[in-house]
């Protein structure tokens, strides 16, 4: 009897020790309020040190039930690396910086073109707990201004802006967005080149027009704006794509060109293109085609003589919008199948040549070429990157007229 009681006491002691051990997980607890969540990390060229690093933090409103989601707070310092900047910044803020929600890395064009991105990103993502799903934006001008432009509007909310960028990408395909992990992947085995979003800051955009908001406040509904002003939204916006060769940015693409890049890569979903409509040599106006992806197939052929040909089959559903009154159904059909197809094909080819001349396989043809190899050793020996300059691309475009069978007069 005494032995059983002793056994039970021993068991309880062991259980107690275990419970105490479990509590060790709470040895260094940090309250959620004590964190400052860094949403984006920006990198400009520094004056005294290598970089000027800007951290953008999401500022939560302390009031419970507040309708707004808060704004942004900016922290910045000059440093030779991120760790050095953090050491300087963290000493001056009343909270710990957390990178677990970092979604964007922003680099100025100057830094991106110098190839210093590789040096900067050699930081330990794991130790800072940064997710490699964070995307990259290259900014024309300084990152500092760009980040400021994101916060210029009183309603600015970085999280919502990020969602808007993604939505924009799906809606019109004019933005290229890739995670940082793809930059590492691209440079690990050289099967493609990275492509980042390109951002711009425009000082002339009017973000606060002092309009009449209530009966007793403000001037009038138009505020202080004049006809022709670019009004509303933010001073910072996405203006296309930055293409890389390795870790170095080598070329920029406009929003239109980015759309064709996405089309060639197979990432395109929906969008619009405007193409001039000619009748008897006379331009009747622009016709807007509403496009949506039906099928995009890609392949690379390596011929026996060593020449490489990339082929992309693009089939898009095309609906016309704002077509000229003078054009009938047959003419439109012919125009879509000939003029529009040729125009899109030409644009695709132009973008391909622009990227190829910049030494960038931004269309990711290497990812198709790798499928032709039986082993890693063969692929490495082939050295795709060195052969990419001689690749020829063929774009087979097919537009399926979705207005077919409907009345010619769509008004």
């Amino acid at each position: 009897m005494k032995k059983r009681i002793m056994e039970k006491i021993m068991g309880l002691i062991i259980l107690l020790i275990f419970i105490v051990m479990w509590l060790t997980g709470c040895l260094t607890p940090v309250s959620l309020d004590a964190y400052g969540y860094v949403i984006s990390i920006g990198v400009d060229r520094g004056t005294e040190k290598k970089y000027y690093i800007t951290l953008s933090l999401q500022r939560e409103l302390s009031e419970q039930g507040a309708e707004s989601d808060g704004g942004a707070a900016i922290l910045a310092a000059e440093a030779d690396c991120l760790d050095e900047a953090l050491n300087e910044i963290e000493g001056n803020v009343p909270y710990s910086l957390s990178f677990s929600r970092t979604n964007y890395f922003l680099f100025s064009r100057e830094v991106a073109e110098s190839g210093d991105i590789e040096d900067f990103l050699s930081l330990s993502f794991d130790s800072l707990k940064i997710r490699t799903s964070a995307a990259m934006i290259i900014t024309e001008g300084s990152v500092f201004e760009f980040v400021g432009g994101l916060s210029a509007n009183n309603d600015a909310n970085i999280k919502k802006l990020q969602e808007a960028v993604m939505l924009d990408m799906e809606k019109n395909g004019m933005i290229a967005m890739m995670s940082i992990s793809r930059l590492f992947e691209a440079n690990k085995d050289g099967s493609f080149d990275y492509c980042a979003a390109l951002g711009r800051f425009d000082e002339s955009i009017i973000t606060d027009m002092e309009e009449k908001k209530t009966e007793s406040e403000g001037k009038n509904p138009l505020g202080n704006i004049k006809l022709g002003d670019r009004v509303g939204g933010l001073k910072s916006f996405m203006s296309g794509a930055a293409v890389f060769s390795g870790y170095r940015m080598t070329e920029t693409l406009t929003r239109d060109e980015t759309m064709y890049l996405n089309m060639a890569c197979g990432d395109y979903k929906n969008g619009t293109v405007s193409i001039p409509f000619f009748q008897n040599g006379e331009e009747l106006g622009m016709v807007t085609l509403i496009l949506s992806k039906q099928h995009i197939g890609r392949r690379v052929i390596i011929n026996e003589d060593g020449s490489i040909r990339a082929e992309v089959d693009i089939r898009l559903a095309a609906g016309t919008h704002a077509k000229p009154d003078e054009a009938n159904q047959t003419e439109m059909e012919h125009w879509i199948n000939e003029t529009a197809v040729n125009c899109i094909r030409q644009k695709l080819n132009d973008v391909f040549i622009k990227c190829r001349d910049a030494g960038s396989d931004a269309m990711r043809f290497g990812t198709e070429a790798i499928k032709l190899f039986r082993s890693d050793a063969e692929w490495k020996e082939f050295d795709w990157k060195s052969r990419y300059g001689s690749v020829e691309a063929v774009f087979n475009v097919e537009l399926i007229n979705t207005d077919k069978g409907t009345s010619g007069d769509m008004q």
């Binding site: 997980g25 130790s127 799903s133 992947e185 082993s375």
Partner: protein, 368 residues
């Protein structure tokens, strides 16, 4: 006798073995070695499970033929006490390594990517007692816990794979057999080091399962479940990362959602998934520690398994805590030796036991 086996049914045995096999195949592999030869683990790993099963089934057949209730009886009958104990050691050691490896990976990921400012050792001390407690309570506790949680890691895996599917790319699978067929076949055989111990665990705990037929059914069913789990998990990993990046990653399954720039609430569930998978790893750890302890106790005719469980737990804990303090070059050498030749340390003793059993049986020197 305090062997703390109790009785477990077929479903409990299948759950516990399937969890141990799957945990080993997904979280217990050495990424540097496994992904060295390209992205072919989604074929080589499931194939390895089948090879492991094929290695263990003849042992089970001999247990049947010699009317042994568990593998320790077979070892004793075929190799005698001294020989049996010598042949037992590699299997016990492999079970303890299989107990430690997944937890080591979890501790590293939790330390590096989840908790801020918490030491690696604190995380080990936080989670390891749970496994020890289950092992201490015995097989019945481990088996029933396994049955309770078995579905959760599967659901977490399915959710993780589905939420990351937009980042999958077919080209990452190419070249299909990585460094060639020779390396591929080598991986399939050497990876059996991860899968033989959990199946051997079923043979060790055979008495609690109620007969060799149940052991066979449990082994086959758990192997096929693990086959499917490993195939899905490794295929998702291979579709997410090129092999060059995988070789540098501790737990790639945790990171498969890190590829897409598009953020969603599902992608942020990875911290929840890792905790669910950790539950599976703890059950697997408990099972391996208990199996190793039971084998040791039976071979040494001990009447109480708890002393062995305490010793095995201590060894596993030491492995978990001390391995990061050891010089990297030494760890690298040990890791390479285990990855390349580990399977031989298991296959040789098992083959020796089988051979001795057959010889003795033919000579009529084997007691029924």
């Amino acid at each position: 006798m305090k062997m703390r086996m109790g009785r477990i049914g077929l479903s409990e045995a299948v759950c516990v073995a399937a969890i141990a096999l799957s945990t080993g195949g997904v979280f217990g592999i050495d990424p540097v070695y496994a992904y060295l030869g390209g992205n072919s683990t989604y074929i080589s790993m499931p194939l390895s499970i089948i090879v492991s099963l094929l290695i263990m089934l003849p042992v089970l057949k001999l247990m049947d033929a010699t009317k042994c209730r568990d593998i320790s009886e077979l070892f004793l009958k075929s190799a005698g006490r001294a020989g049996g104990i010598m042949l037992m050691f590699p299997i016990c050691a492999a079970l303890l390594i299989c107990a430690a490896k997944p937890l080591m990976a979890f501790a590293q990921v939790l330390h590096r990517m989840v908790y801020d400012g918490v030491k690696y050792s604190s995380i080990i001390v936080f989670m390891f007692p749970v496994a020890v407690f289950m092992a201490w309570k015995g097989l019945e506790t481990v088996g029933r816990t396994a049955k309770c949680i078995a579905v959760l890691p599967l659901v977490a895996l399915a959710a993780a794979v589905m939420s990351s599917a937009s980042g999958f790319e077919i080209y990452r699978l190419f070249p299909l057999v990585g460094d060639g067929m020779k390396h591929f076949a080598l991986f399939a055989v050497s990876d059996t080091f991860v899968f033989i111990p959990p199946i051997a665990g079923l043979l060790i705990c055979g008495e609690a399962l109620g007969g060799n037929e149940f052991i066979r059914k449990a082994a086959v069913r758990s192997a096929f479940i693990a086959f499917a789990v490993c195939f899905i998990a490794q295929l998702a990993i291979s579709l997410s990362f090129r092999s060059g990046l995988l070789a540098e990653s501790v737990m790639p399954l945790y990171k498969i959602g890190f590829l897409t720039a598009k953020q969603s609430f599902v992608l942020r569930l990875d911290k929840l998934f890792i905790m669910i998978w950790l539950c599976g790893a703890l059950v697997s750890c408990a099972y391996c520690i208990y199996s190793s302890s039971l084998f040791f106790s039976k071979m040494l005719s001990q009447k109480d398994v708890t002393a062995s469980v305490a010793a095995s737990s201590l060894i596993t804990c030491t492995l978990l805590l001390e391995i990061i303090k050891v010089d990297n070059a030494v760890v690298e050498k040990i890791r390479n030796a285990i990855s390349y030749y580990g399977a031989l340390f298991l296959i040789i003793p098992l083959a020796a036991v089988c051979l001795l059993t057959v010889i003795k049986k033919r000579a009529g020197r084997l007691e029924a």
